[in-house]
Symmetry: C2
Subunit: 226 residues, 2 copies
């Protein structure tokens, strides 16, 4: 499948690398490809510059948001939450209409330090904001409840099987995302319901962050036991 | 142990019944015992009146909040979130000082219907509000992330082992609560850290509510797989 991955950080690279490994044709979208490639220093999270990752993934092309989105049948939104709306705006309504948009982003606000707060919550969600801004896109929220490495390799959590959630208004779009999740190795996909249920998945992040602090590792996930 | 359970709803009854069964001396606290006993109709959740439960649990005494709290070495706050501060105020600072207060309540606001919103979140929690209001109490948040029957009977979830969280500033108080949880049958107690981590446990509620909707049952819980 032709897939666009918007975002060049850890989540974008991890998802793009895995999709490429699975045989998909992947174009990574960024605001300014030349600037992204020109960076030579590690990012604030300590990740090596994109050019280093690019050199190891020659099959993955880097393009402006709009060109990437135009190339994809499916668009993965893998920016940080503060950049989500800008990324989709850069992608352009005309390149999103009718397409599945898999929203992995979290509305984390680090402006007051760590732990971050949520910039939207309770009566709305980032996923719903994006869906309202791009009504012709078929937004599905998923994968935002675990660290990037676990998203594409559930076995990275040593303690056994765990769960991943999907939220969305379009049943067909959710089926497409579920297939993708299964191709990553996920075995327990819990369909929470319509896109408003993304409020639940996004508001879990504060607990995820405290769990990471208590466990001293991001390589965990939750299993819904029932 | 002498234990006070504040609250006469499902959570209060379930906890009080289990504690009594385990051999503890339990006094249930309510604002107005005579009014509580005088009710003859089911509550809005469909629970039979307290008098019916009382008849089946003759060893559990009903008393005003202050009398109940005075009798207990440990105080369990099992009201709904909107009533938590009033219940502790009724209990009285003098009856809470130095005592472990196990806060099970959730800051759910049903004033705009279902699903409820959270009345406090993100930069504060109900547990922290209670701790600030009663600084001499040793507040521990726990058990708020599952339905009442599962709190006291983890085996009620058929799919296997699952996790319960504790948050609190007082290590000794947390140890007391962990012992209590283990006496209920919990085998995976995750210490999230200080009381501010209760924000995470409380903000999980929106996900819990969507999971209940998706699964069609409250008899589930999450396991932290690591």
């Amino acid at each position: 499948m032709d897939i666009a991955v918007l975002g060049t950080g850890t989540v974008g690279r991890t998802i793009a690398g895995k999709l490429s490994e699975l045989g998909h044709t992947v174009v990574v979208g960024t605001r300014d490809p030349q600037a992204t490639i020109a960076r030579t220093e590690a990012d604030p999270m300590g990740n090596p510059p994109y050019s280093a990752w690019q050199a190891e993934h020659p099959a993955v092309r880097l393009a402006p948001f709009a060109e990437a989105a135009a190339s994809g049948e499916l668009v993965v939104l893998a920016t940080n939450g503060a950049g989500s709306l800008d990324a989709l705006t850069g992608a352009g309504e005309e390149n999103l209409g009718g397409k599945v948009v898999l929203d992995i982003s979290n509305p984390l606000d680090f402006s007051r330090g760590f732990p971050p707060t949520l910039s939207v919550k309770d009566t709305d969600s980032l996923a719903e904001q994006l869906q309202r801004a791009f009504p012709a896109a078929r937004v599905v929220k998923s994968l935002n409840t675990m660290t990037a490495a676990v998203m594409v390799d559930p076995g990275r959590v040593s303690g056994g099987g765990h769960s991943v959630f999907v939220s969305g208004d379009d049943p067909g779009a959710k089926r497409t995302v579920v297939s993708l999740l299964e191709s990553f190795g996920h075995t327990d996909v819990v369909d929470l319901g319509d896109l408003s249920t993304a409020r639940g998945a996004e508001m879990y992040l504060p607990l995820w962050l405290r769990l990471m602090g208590a466990l001293g590792t991001p390589f965990f996930n939750i299993k819904v036991v029932r």
